[in-house]
Amino acid sequence: MSGPWGECLVPAVVPSPEMAAEVRRAIGAVPGWLARVAPVPWLVRTFTELATKPYAYAAAELTDLVALVVSQDNSCRYCYGVQRALFKIFGYDDALVARLERDFHVAGLPDTERVALDFARKLSRANPRPGRRDYAELASTGLEGAVIAEVAFAVAASTILNRVATLVALPPETALESIPKVPLFRLIRPILAWRMRDARRSPLPLADDGRGFGARVVAALGDAPGATILRRTIDEALRSDVLPRRTKALLFAVIAKALGCVYCEREARALLLAEGLDEGTIDEVLANLGSPRLDRREAILVPFVRETVRYQHADIQRRTREVTAGMRHDEVVELVGVVSLANAVARLSVLLDAC
């Protein structure tokens, strides 16, 4: 990891007792991120749900590996620290963790996991996004479509968590990271692992008819629990009134364009048309990352969000600090939440192109 991890961009706030209780009920503790993300309830729910390993088809070991490798690849100090600590708590072999840190290609993993991690890393880097050939290679190892969809969802989940954590520079979870260093840890590790390691979830068909922004991407997850989380997250993010809906649609559109996701760009265009922006202005914004019809804040944010697609953590933290100067803390948190979500959805859409 190059460059220092910055000071957190947003102050710690005291979450409401109800919010704290809900998070504790779901994940068994009140993590440090809650105090930073609390001003935006939809993002709190997303963080909470993603922390509970919402997978019905992919093995926990595989999704854990994906989270570790993607967090390392994204140089996310916060998420990588958490994942590493969880690996130790869950009882993974220390030598395996060390080998994974060096290079998962030579970590002695079975072919299926190695190819899945290759796919996950390509999807996370999205330079370019993996295509049919990568999907076919993964399928040829024997992984079923539902498992591959959850591997892609695990990447999307890490995309959200890594970006939010990196852009606002979430302080490391030192309490969690220090657990494996406690002398008695080896004795209590089996109990902790049993307590913290969730069993595989049951499939969860979508409650509604699947309409809304990104409907086809959500549908590509089938009845995986991730589909319901993604549907709710997108809907609540767009409904939230912290930032104007038009601004959020612009952020979705620019990230879709940057990642070459034709489907997501079309969806974002539809949102912008519904917000009263005409086709000509949308074309102008997407061609030039600017337009006289944008408001002052949009004129700053639109060219900025392309930088969140691929970044070096120190640079993006500096840039996020620059562009959010003068914004309220809840606006900053919603901004990083929306750009992280847009990055995740545009990556996840490979399931449409590749299948």
Binding site: R102, N127, K257, N288, G290
Partner: protein, 256 residues
């Protein structure tokens, strides 16, 4: 006696085990060191070639894999530098040239381009070659404006030090190139070939004829932000191209 033999054997086994552990620890440390070096190299190489090309090279060695890409090429050259180089002390000349390259490279990287090579006092920079970039043309033109501004700053300092100042012409063209790892077994580089590169170079030469600092082609103009003021210039015949080339001089407007 038997106990003594057992004790000696046990001690020997313990010593062997300790030595084995030490050797393993040493090997692991070396492996970790090599792995870090490899990661650092991979990171460094990603500035010169697309990440996937770097990964392919690491996994399979140098291959002849090549692909067609639409990119934007910026060619910059110092005006009158050859005459200046004959007047100046070699050390002073190199100091000025290196500072110029340093500044221009920084500006190009900031605007998401990458310096493909230095050719004498010329710079060949590519936009959209390493990462897919739908805004590559505007990035290249922004880079050109920023390069001129940076050169103006450098000139203030050179003038204050009573050194000769520099003037630079920039040509920008957009088109399809063949990109890949090019070279011999001893020396390879990630590069691009095709007429797009030649056109950018020829357009740069036209800055002297038209007396302007930055010139772009019609392919660039088509995709240019309307906030850039564009003025058409007469088409001029250039070496290697069948038709005279129409070019446009550009200037930044408010907000670009």
């Amino acid at each position: 006696m038997l106990w003594l033999v057992v004790a000696v054997l046990a001690a020997a086994l313990v010593a062997l085990a300790r030595r084995g552990r030490r050797t393993i620890a040493q090997l692991e440390r070396r492996l970790e060191g090599s792995s870090r070096e490899l990661e650092a190299l991979q990171h460094a190489f990603s500035r010169f070639a697309p990440a996937e090309v770097v990964e392919d090279i690491i996994a399979q060695g140098v291959s002849t894999h090549a692909e067609k890409k639409e990119i934007t090429v910026l060619f910059a050259d110092l005006k009158g530098f050859t005459a200046m180089s004959e007047r100046l002390d070699p050390a002073e000349l190199l100091m000025i040239l290196n500072e110029y390259f340093e500044r221009m490279s920084r500006v190009i990287t900031t605007h998401r381009g990458h310096v493909s090579k230095f050719i004498g006092d010329g710079i060949l920079a590519l936009f959209g070659a390493l990462d897919a970039n739908p805004w590559q043309t505007n990035d290249a033109v922004r880079a050109a404006f920023a390069m001129q501004a940076s050169l103006a700053e450098l000139n203030v300092r050179l003038a204050a030090d009573q050194r000769p100042t520099l003037a630079m012409g920039i040509g920008i063209h957009r088109g399809v190139v063949v990109a890949g790892v090019i070279g011999s077994a001893e020396l390879v580089e990630y590069g691009v070939i095709g007429s797009t590169v030649n056109v950018a170079s020829r357009v740069q030469e036209l800055t002297r004829i038209h007396g302007v600092d930055v010139l772009v082609t019609a392919a660039v103009r088509e995709r240019l932000d309307p906030r850039v003021t564009v003025r058409a210039l007469p088409a001029v015949a250039v070496k290697g191209l069948p038709e005279p080339v129409p070019t446009f001089t550009v200037a930044p407007d408010d907000g670009f």
